[in-house]
């Protein structure tokens, strides 16, 4: 058990933008919502998953809708109370604790705000260990968990709870209600018991975000070795490539941003070229025609000077980036995990081979 205050929130937001692996969006508004809640209601208590009783109700909190609308309407004061009432009366028992569903963007921040406003603990766990683009892409799906019953509330006091037959229906219905409510709403999904959370959740993810954020912030203070070495050491990252962006190709299909970024090597990678593909999040990294990393391992592009993570929508010609691979949560590497989030699900015609095996030959 420990406390999450404003300095911790700053670091978690920065770390979460690395774990977003190019996606997850800008956590800025989410960060302000979390800071606002902690200023008003005090620090949040964070629990290790082991501190949660097996039969306790644990509820992930997220937002749904358009980020530009969230940027205008933010979050009100009453949404989380409304979720609490809706969910606890549906299940007939109180919510014991809250948790994030993913470790990227605004959704890494909003559960902190909800925990502060409800005076409930936050559990150091999520369902991805990174960010993914689709609703069912959580470890809880592997364990047979369902996104519904899902509570959806707006700032005006409207609330509802969905029971759906498929994830597709959940998406369709939730989207329709979200637009009617003004385009940005708060939701709880994949509500679960403590035992299930402990079995399938990605443990320690909030702590990991915070540690990464603090390391990025302080990387230049390092005395031993170069900042780059220090960065790789702390993130346990595999150095895949360092280069200058020479081209960015983008295409919007449905709710997703597809594309690829082409890089020319600089420094020790001079003379080589690389290419990173993405669908909201980065999918593959290829150097001189050889794949060095694929989803579900994390492929992160960071600024070569500041080590600040660069989301896919900020990629542009001329930027100098370091491409780093991070190992994904082990459950994603099982056949069940790869069925949900493996390279072939994203249309990449290759088998999944773990990052550390693809990178053998001492590129770390």
């Amino acid at each position: 058990m420990r406390k999450i205050g404003i300095p911790e929130i700053e670091d978690i937001a920065l770390g979460a933008s690395l774990l977003g692996a190019g996606g997850g969006g800008d956590p800025y508004v989410g960060k302000l919502v979390a800071i606002g809640a902690v200023r008003e209601c005090g620090e949040v208590t964070m629990l290790d998953p082991e501190e949660v009783p097996d039969d306790a109700l644990v509820v992930p909190i997220a937002m749904m809708g358009a980020p530009t609308i969230l940027g205008e309407k933010a979050v009100g004061a009453g949404e989380y109370q409304s979720i609490y009432k809706t969910v606890s009366s549906f299940y007939g028992k109180p919510i014991f604790a809250l948790m994030p569903i993913e470790a990227g963007g605004v959704n890494s921040m909003l559960p902190i705000a909800a925990a502060a406003r409800l005076g409930l603990p936050l559990v150091d766990v999520d369902g991805m260990g990174r960010a993914f683009p689709e609703l069912q892409m959580v470890t809880f799906t592997i364990g047979g968990g369902s996104a519904t019953p899902m509570a959806l509330v707006d700032e005006k006091g409207n609330s509802c709870i969905f029971n759906t037959i498929t994830n597709k229906w959940t998406e369709d219905l939730a989207r329709a209600v979200t637009m009617a409510c003004g385009g940005s709403v708060s939701v709880s999904l994949f509500a679960m018991e403590g035992a299930f959370m402990k079995k399938y959740g990605v443990r320690g993810i909030v702590t990991r975000s915070q540690m990464l954020g603090s390391a990025i912030r302080r990387v230049k203070e390092s005395e031993a070795g170069t900042p780059e070495e220090k960065f790789l050491e702390i993130t346990e990252g595999f150095r895949l490539f360092k280069g200058k962006i020479t081209d960015v190709l983008r295409e919007v299909r449905g709710a997703f941003n597809f594309g690829k970024v082409v890089l020319d090597g600089i420094g020790e990678d001079k003379g080589r070229s690389a290419c990173v593909t993405f669908q909201n999040e980065n999918l593959t990294a290829e150097v001189d025609g050889e794949i060095l990393a694929t989803v579900p391992d994390l492929i992160c592009l960071v600024d070569t000077e500041t080590f600040t993570p660069i989301p896919t929508d900020a990629l542009k010609y001329g930027k100098r980036v370091l491409v780093v691979g991070l190992k994904c949560f082990p459950l994603w590497r099982t056949p069940e995990g790869l069925e949900l989030v493996g390279p072939r699900y994203f249309g990449v015609d290759t088998d999944y081979i773990p990052l550390e095996e693809r990178c053998k030959g001492g590129r770390k």
């Binding site: 800025y28 302000l32 919502v33 008003e40 205008e72 309407k73 933010a74 385009g183 010609y317």
Partner: protein, 520 residues
């Protein structure tokens, strides 16, 4: 008739006089003084003397200034204000100024979030809570506050509530209260727009003092026939009255003016502009005659805003950058600099510090100072330093490009002598003669604009006709502001549909700009 352009920067205050054909008659550089007023006065005096122009012939005077930026960064001369947001029950999760530094937050005497605001489609989110607004204004009045910032959810879509609140504010606090309304200042993104509005409100006394100071310095120098304008960040001018209401719009006019001035001098409408100063070099891009805008949120004094600012990168290289040799023989240039002390400290001026300027003199690229004083620098050392300078600049040029193709480059600024006549990545390299004062020239040649904004029901007025009419209205407003009718162009069109508003209604906002007409 002549135009007088002035640019007040951190180090230098530049002044130019240009004639009716926009030819530069005279230009001077003088030091910026702490109160800016003396620096402006010195520059005006010097440029009048150099040019020999009759002061009664100066018909227009334009000022570009960084005083608002400095006031925010240094937290000086900011006024106490009230901050009112219309948006409850939405937005209350983020109180106003929640992530501001404590010392800057203190400018707000009182903040409140009350009922009001709209949805993205123009539907009312909550009714405007007039009673709460009245109570808030009454309290501010009692506390002696004279400036108020008002923001509202989706006021970029509909500003009815904001305007109703502003009207009420004047009713309660008196006609002379300074009211800043977010829909007139920023774009989408409530927090960033509200932040800019709050800064605008806090700057009202700063604006009053620099507009009055400028008018006074002109009058003191006997320039009494001139219309007075201020530069804003989009490369257009505003009147003194407008600048007093929207001082925040002067933010970042410096880089805009420098980029536009460089474009004007070189006759290039598409190019990368490199402005080399004493300590830093700014790189910007001119696209179709206007600066390319930055895609990222701009932070002023630690406060995030959503202003559109020129996309500029700064590198630590200037005429005064200090050159050093490392023990391993490699040579570094900058980022530290002797700055304005270059005329005392640089080797070629009899000083003891080796600067980038000394390297240029040693390599025969510049005739500044005394070249015998740099003769002891070895050719090898000087070449290595020049390679370091080139690496810095060529990397930065590359970072500003949008593709790998070579581009035209314009070199301006007092420190530009440290760069050679050829850069890799540059198709052509223009080095205009008056490049040293490009920013003051940019200020002098700025256009004037008019903005027309209206809710239009396209079911009652066919869209094409209605838009054409709206464009005419915007052009007429630009002409009213002083633009030459034949030069007026539409520079921005926004057409935001409001689904829940009666009929087929859009909020239409059109901005037109043209060259400033000659007086008389």
């Amino acid at each position: 008739m002549y135009k007088l352009g002035i640019d007040v920067g951190g180090t230098n205050t530049d002044a130019v006089i240009i004639d009716e054909d926009l030819k530069v008659v005279a230009s001077v550089k003088s030091h910026t003084t702490p109160d800016a007023y003396d620096g402006i006065l010195n520059a005006i005096r010097a440029v009048l003397e150099t040019s020999g122009v009759d002061r009664s012939q100066i018909g227009q005077a334009m000022l570009g200034t960084t005083q608002c930026t400095n006031a925010i960064v240094e937290r000086k001369h900011l006024s106490p204000i009230g901050v009112l947001r219309l948006g409850a029950p939405a937005t209350v999760g983020i109180p106003p100024m929640v992530d501001w530094a404590e010392d800057l937050k203190k400018i707000a005497v009182k903040t409140a979030v009350i009922g009001g605001g709209f949805e993205y489609d123009g539907k009312e989110l909550a009714p405007f809570d007039e009673e709460a607004a009245r109570a808030f204004f009454l309290e501010l009045k009692e506390k002696g506050v004279r400036s108020v910032a008002i923001s509202c959810v989706f006021s970029t879509v509909r500003n009815d509530h904001e305007l109703a609140a502003a009207k009420l504010c004047r009713e309660v606090m008196g006609e002379d209260v300074h009211v800043s309304v977010s829909s007139e200042i920023g774009s989408m993104g409530l927090i960033e727009r509200e932040n800019a509005t709050i800064l605008n409100a806090a700057l009202y006394q700063v604006a009053q003092s620099f507009t009055e100071g400028f008018a006074k310095s002109l009058a003191d120098e006997g320039i009494t026939n001139a219309d007075i304008y201020l530069s804003q960040n989009d490369g257009t001018l505003m009147t003194m009255d407008y600048a007093r209401r929207y001082p925040i719009l002067t933010i970042a006019c410096g880089p805009t003016n420098s980029i536009r001035g460089a474009s004007y001098l070189s006759k290039l409408k598409n190019a990368i502009v490199i402005d080399v100063g004493g300590t830093t070099t700014d790189l910007g891009v001119i696209q179709n005659g206007f600066p390319r805008e930055s895609g990222v949120a701009v932070t002023i004094g630690g406060v995030r805003t959503n202003f559109r600012m020129p996309d500029v990168i700064s590198i630590g290289l200037g005429g005064g950058s200090i050159v050093r040799q490392r023990p391993d023989g490699s040579v570094t240039v900058g980022p530290d600099s002797v700055g304005y002390e270059i005329t005392e400290k640089a080797l070629c001026f009899g000083g003891k510090v080796c600067t980038a300027t000394d390297i240029a003199v040693r390599l025969g690229m510049s005739g500044l100072g005394d070249k015998t004083r740099v003769a002891h620098l070895t050719e090898d050392f000087a070449q290595k330093a020049m390679e370091a300078i080139l690496a810095l600049v060529e990397d930065a040029v590359d970072a500003m490009k949008v593709s790998a193709d070579d581009v035209d480059v314009i070199l301006v600024g007092g420190g530009s002598i440290v760069l050679p006549a050829k850069l890799s990545g540059a198709r052509t390299l223009a080095k205009p003669a008056e490049g040293g004062v490009a920013n003051a020239i940019g200020s002098a040649i700025s256009k004037v604009s008019g903005t027309y904004e209206q809710l239009i029901d396209f079911s009652a007025h066919p869209r094409d006709e209605a838009l054409a009419q709206a464009k005419k209205e915007a052009a007429a407003l630009a002409v009213e502001a002083g633009a030459i009718p034949e030069t007026v162009e539409i520079i921005d069109v926004e057409d935001v549909p409001l689904a829940y508003y009666p009929g087929n209604t859009s909020r239409v906002k059109i901005k037109a700009a043209g060259d400033l007409s000659r007086k008389g």
